[in-house]
């Protein structure tokens, strides 16, 4: 967890298309150290794609991407996107963690090994130290007795907590969450939200894509509302939810409210 007031993530004029579909349309976003940013928006608005571009799972088509002020990708004079070298990208990857909607734990590794394997075999840190840190992380996640369990023996909520611990074990500067509770039953959602709240209290820098509006309002410093690959509105969390400016955000919030009262319609 780094110094306050430094910008960790900086995305400028990001563009991304899949075939002829424009998914990100001139997106700019800064995230400072210690900040918690929530991203909301209707399905298909490009939230996941934005996280996937920020975590280098997808390549941008245009714009630029910086971590800690260092260029990771930029657009050259002829409008072509240029990424840093493979080695440089490897170093950049150590700066962030990503928590997936469906966990993506390694099923053949024990919980302990899921958390420690990358630290030991990618970061080449001493085993003893990594294990001790992992024990502490497990404790923090309320899973101190699960180190030897296999992922398949855990509930969805427990698996997601392991995946958060796995990401934290590499000591990232910034942690991304892509709908971390969407694959979970409502009663398991609370335990994940509690963990994220705890991280926010420690000033962990986080970007969270979520549909949990009350949670976003409470835990985020800033909310970004996306629609059709554009940032339509952004601002302090409470203001954005309580006094939305754009019609689209108003419509979106209304719809969520109806869903919360009547359940999400089966599509």
């Amino acid at each position: 967890m780094s110094d306050p007031h430094t910008t960790i993530l900086r995305i400028d004029h990001a563009r991304k298309s899949f075939g002829s579909t424009r998914v990100l349309n001139d997106i700019s976003l800064n995230v400072d150290a210690g900040e918690v940013v929530a991203i909301i928006g209707p399905s298909g608005s490009g939230k996941s794609t934005l996280l996937r571009c920020a975590t280098l799972l997808e390549r941008l088509d245009g714009g630029s991407l910086h971590y800690d002020g260092e260029p990771v990708a930029h657009t050259d004079d002829v409008g072509k996107i240029v990424y840093a070298s493979t080695q440089a990208l490897h170093k950049v990857r150590m700066k962030f963690g990503l928590v997936f909607q469906d966990f993506n734990l390694f099923p053949h590794f024990s919980v302990m090994r899921n958390i420690t394997d990358a630290a030991i075999h990618v970061q080449k840190r001493p085993k003893e130290e990594v294990r001790a840190e992992a024990e502490a992380l497990l404790k923090k996640m309320g899973l101190e007795d699960k180190g030897n369990a296999m992922p398949c023996e855990l509930s969805g909520g427990q698996q997601q907590r392991v995946s958060i611990a796995r990401a934290l074990a590499l000591n990232p500067e910034i942690l991304y969450f892509d709908e971390p509770t969407s694959a979970l039953d409502p009663e398991l959602t609370a335990e994940i939200l509690r963990v994220i709240r705890g991280l926010a209290a420690e000033r962990m820098t986080m970007v969270i894509v979520t549909h949990e509006m009350n949670f976003a309002k409470e835990v985020a410093d800033r909310i970004i509302f996306m629609n059709d690959g554009l940032i339509i509105e952004e601002g302090p969390a409470r203001d954005l939810v309580e006094t939305p400016q754009s019609d689209r955000l108003k419509a979106f919030l209304n719809k969520l409210e109806t869903w919360e009262q009547h359940g999400i319609p089966e599509s």
Partner: protein, 217 residues
């Protein structure tokens, strides 16, 4: 000829069968992995080449492949290889043939691993090689054990085809004994040998599957 003499003679042949079996596995299991990589290569020509190779190996009889490998050097290049070449030719044909089958099994296993596993590994900083070795391949093994077992059991029975090149493996021996004795005792005993051999294979593969049963997906 007493039963114990027959058993002894067949035992010598069985040793050769076992050698064919062992060398074929040692050669074709790793080669199959290369075939799978070639089949999934980013480079289209390599992909087509592997596809062609696999289709030939699967689309023509193994016995024909044995003959081509054995007689090929002479008829194609005018090179005489001597009688020792029988055994080598058998191994070459078997390894090439089984590598194609194993390659397809590996490929189906590799392709069945969810994309999320690669993505999680990538974000955690695993290199491509480390991702494959540490994350993907161990899961592939577990998934392909059943088809692998089938193929290995077929290989045990296929070793008998080496008789067509005159390699003194068990079936060759059994045939010689049967024609000199005028009864089927040697075939019966050879059958028992193959059966026990495959029971052993099945037993070992079951143990391996159990060893991988410590998790499910």
């Amino acid at each position: 000829m007493s039963i114990s003499t027959i058993v002894q003679m067949l035992g010598e042949g069985a040793l050769t069968s076992l050698l064919i079996f062992g060398f074929t596995l040692v050669g074709s299991l790793p080669l199959g992995l290369l075939v799978a990589f070639g089949r999934m290569s980013k480079l289209a020509p390599i992909r087509w080449l592997m596809r062609f190779y696999i289709s030939i190996m699967r689309g023509t009889p193994l016995i024909l492949q044995l003959f081509i490998v054995y007689f090929g050097p002479f008829y194609l290049f005018g090179v005489s290889m001597g009688t020792d070449y029988r055994f080598t030719a058998t191994l070459i044909a078997f390894i090439l043939n089984y590598a194609a089958y194993f390659g397809e099994i590996y490929r189906s296993g590799i392709e069945s691993i969810p994309k999320g596993q690669y993505e999680a590994a990538t974000v955690l900083g695993y290199s491509r090689t480390k991702t494959f070795v540490r994350i993907i391949f161990p899961q592939v093994i577990k998934r392909i054990l059943p088809p692998l077992t089938n193929e290995i059991i077929t290989l045990v029975k296929d070793t008998a085809l080496a008789f067509t090149l005159g390699v003194a493996e068990m079936f060759t021996q059994a045939r010689a004994i049967v024609s000199s004795q005028g009864n089927l005792m040697a075939f019966l005993i050879a059958g028992i040998f193959y059966y026990v051999f495959n029971a052993g294979v099945a037993f070992i593969m079951e143990r391996v599957e159990k060893a991988f049963a410590y998790y499910h997906e």
